[in-house]
């Protein structure tokens, strides 16, 4: 196919595939453990952290990864106390985004006009414009995250499905939950490059939701979620090559279409 003759397409397929693999696997547990809004909050942090990192003279990626991991550790330290206070949490994260807007405005007025679209690429992704360094970081962290996720999948599954029995059997509940949050943070940080901070659910929630519609068996679901995430990203990229529409929209669009189809399939299955 001619699209693989282009370096930016090869980069997008490679990094996008690795990131999607991690997002599908981690996302399956995010949905299983009801932590979708933790991922949402972390994506806001990614926006502000990335721009803050740039303002501080650091690298964009360093800011995104650093802030996401730091906040995930803080959420882990707060434990259950951070839950269920939607007004307080919403107000805090609206402010985090507000701070990101300040950083964005400071950064873009300090630099040339070319940096004006930087915020847009953080918010909506820039998978077709990845730098070589971003491709390497995205691919390696994606594969590493997927490997760690698979390594802790069995005890984490036990802990998520039946916490009390798992703790009684000696599963290290706190350590495992904290480690998982760090994995979520790293996955969010990776996904920001692919689909952007605002469309993260398209990689972390949609494939998992489809998988849960199709199978109740955890290992099958996990494999489906990862496979669907990779397929959705690759299909989105193929479409983006032929249609002049934004890649991140096409990726979330394909994901959403698959989700709707799986929803219909589930209902039909229930009826018959």
């Amino acid at each position: 196919m001619s699209m693989f003759a282009l370096e930016f397409m090869r980069n997008a397929f490679l990094a996008g595939g690795c990131i999607a693999l991690a997002a599908g696997l981690v996302g399956y547990f995010v949905v299983l453990r009801n932590q979708v809004f933790t991922a949402d909050a972390l994506s806001h942090v990614a926006f502000t952290g990335g721009l803050g990192g740039l303002l501080a003279g650091l690298n964009l990626l360093a800011g995104i990864f650093g802030s996401c991991i730091a906040v995930s550790l803080a959420i882990g330290a707060l434990g259950g106390r951070a839950r269920g206070r939607d007004v307080a949490i919403g107000t805090v994260f609206a402010w985090v985004l507000g701070l990101g807007v300040l950083f964005l405005s400071l950064y873009t007025t300090a630099r040339s006009a070319a940096s004006g679209t930087l915020g847009v690429s953080v918010l909506f992704g820039s998978i077709l414009g990845l730098q070589p360094a971003q491709v390497i970081v995205g691919s390696l962290t994606g594969l590493a995250t997927a490997a760690v996720m698979l390594a802790i999948a069995r005890p984490l599954l036990f802990l998520s499905v039946d916490p009390e029995v798992a703790v009684a059997r000696g599963v290290p509940s706190r350590a495992l939950s904290a480690l998982f949050l760090v994995l979520v943070a790293v996955t969010v940080a990776e996904s920001v490059q692919a689909v952007g901070a605002l469309l993260i659910f398209g990689l972390m929630a949609t494939p998992a939701a489809v998988a849960q519609n199709l199978s109740t068996r955890p290992w099958v679901g996990m494999a489906l979620s990862a496979g669907i995430a990779v397929a959705v990203v690759w299909l989105g990229l193929v479409l983006a090559f032929y249609v002049a529409l934004p890649a991140s929209f096409l990726i979330t669009g394909v994901g959403f279409a698959v989700y709707l189809a799986s929803q219909v399939a589930r209902r039909m299955g229930r009826l018959t």
């Binding site: 949905v31 299983l32 009801n34 979708v36 809004f37 991922a39 949402d40 939607d86 007004v87 307080a88 919403g90 107000t91 805090v92 994260f93 609206a94 402010w95 985004l97 507000g98 701070l99 807007v101 300040l102 964005l104 405005s105 400071l106 007025t109 004006g116 679209t117 915020g119 847009v120 918010l123 909506f124 689909v195 605002l198 469309l199 993260i200 659910f201 398209g202 972390m204 929630a205 949609t206 998992a208 939701a209 849960q212 519609n213 529409l245 934004p246 991140s248 929209f249 990726i251 979330t252 669009g253 994901g255 959403f256 989700y259």
Partner: protein, 288 residues
């Protein structure tokens, strides 16, 4: 932006602030928005519907972009999409309420798709990065006379509706079971409020943007509810706070050239944290 600097002469400062037509429009729309958001927000917090507000505002983003794409007002697009989303929540609300794990994943999928769709619309009409930031984070620029008129009409209708159903809505929000037993049409009221919320979200997005809706629609009311349990005072306080955040935010944005969304969220956040600290301390000192 202003040619002359600030002085100690408040009257001169206000004249400076309002010398341009776009600033007059921003203040007019901002004032209407703040009053409506203060009143509607009080019920949002009371009824625990802050997440619905968050959802409606994100669905509003493609609406605003579609409004521009079709050469209509973005406010009109916002109203149509937010009202449509409210109808959707009302229709599928029971399934969403079922507490299934898929619920949050489904909502997340819808939100990601809707934000992606908004991005697509902006790209289709060739919108700039600044245009996207304006939708997402609010702006003091570009509120046209037509937008102000639409905002005025929506605010008038919505506040009128709220005034009409305010008393039974309060009853139904505080104690739905007893209200139902007393013959209050709880379901009808929650549908009506959802529509009111959609309209409030639609016009609030103009000032603070899709992503920062909490700052005007939730934070002032949440602060007010911490300070007083009496509904009349609470609503008045909520309106006063959202007016103060909006006016201050608009003025600061004008004189510093930093986006208005930053100031309004920061004011709302700092005030909310201060109120929480003060109320937590008074509880510690005199455990009532």
């Amino acid at each position: 932006m202003p040619e002359q600097g600030l002085s100690w002469d408040v009257v001169a400062d206000v004249q400076l602030l309002l010398q341009f037509h776009f600033m007059q429009n921003a203040f007019l729309a901002g004032t209407l928005v703040a009053v409506l958001a203060g009143v509607a927000g009080y019920f949002v917090v009371l009824r625990g519907q802050s997440f619905a507000a968050h959802m409606l505002s994100q669905v509003g983003f493609p609406g605003a972009a579609a409004g521009v794409l079709l050469h209509l007002s973005p406010v009109l697009g916002l109203i149509v999409f937010c009202a449509g989303a409210a109808v959707g929540i009302a229709a599928f609300g029971r399934e969403v309420d079922a507490g299934h794990r898929l619920e949050s994943a489904a909502i997340g999928s819808i939100l990601a798709f809707s934000l992606g769709l908004g991005f697509l619309f902006v790209r289709l009409y060739g919108g700039s990065a600044q245009g996207i930031y304006a939708f997402l984070f609010g702006t003091i620029l570009g509120i046209t006379d037509r937008d102000v008129q639409l905002t005025f009409a929506v605010a008038l209708v919505t506040i009128g509706l709220l005034a009409a159903i305010g008393r039974p809505l309060m009853f139904a929000s505080v104690d739905p079971d007893v209200a139902q037993a007393r013959g209050v049409p709880v379901r009808m009221l929650s549908l009506a409020f959802l529509l009111i919320l959609a309209l409030s979200v639609a016009i609030t997005v103009q000032i603070v943007g899709t992503l920062l809706i909490f700052a005007l629609l939730v934070a002032p009311a949440a602060s007010a509810l911490q300070l007083t349990a009496r509904p009349g005072r609470g609503i008045a306080l909520s309106v006063a706070l959202s007016l103060a955040f909006t006016w201050l935010g608009l003025a600061l944005a004008y004189f510093t050239n930093v986006p208005v969304g930053f100031f309004i969220t920061t004011l709302a956040f700092v005030f909310y944290v201060a109120v929480r600290l003060v109320t937590a301390r008074s509880v510690l000192i005199s455990p009532a």
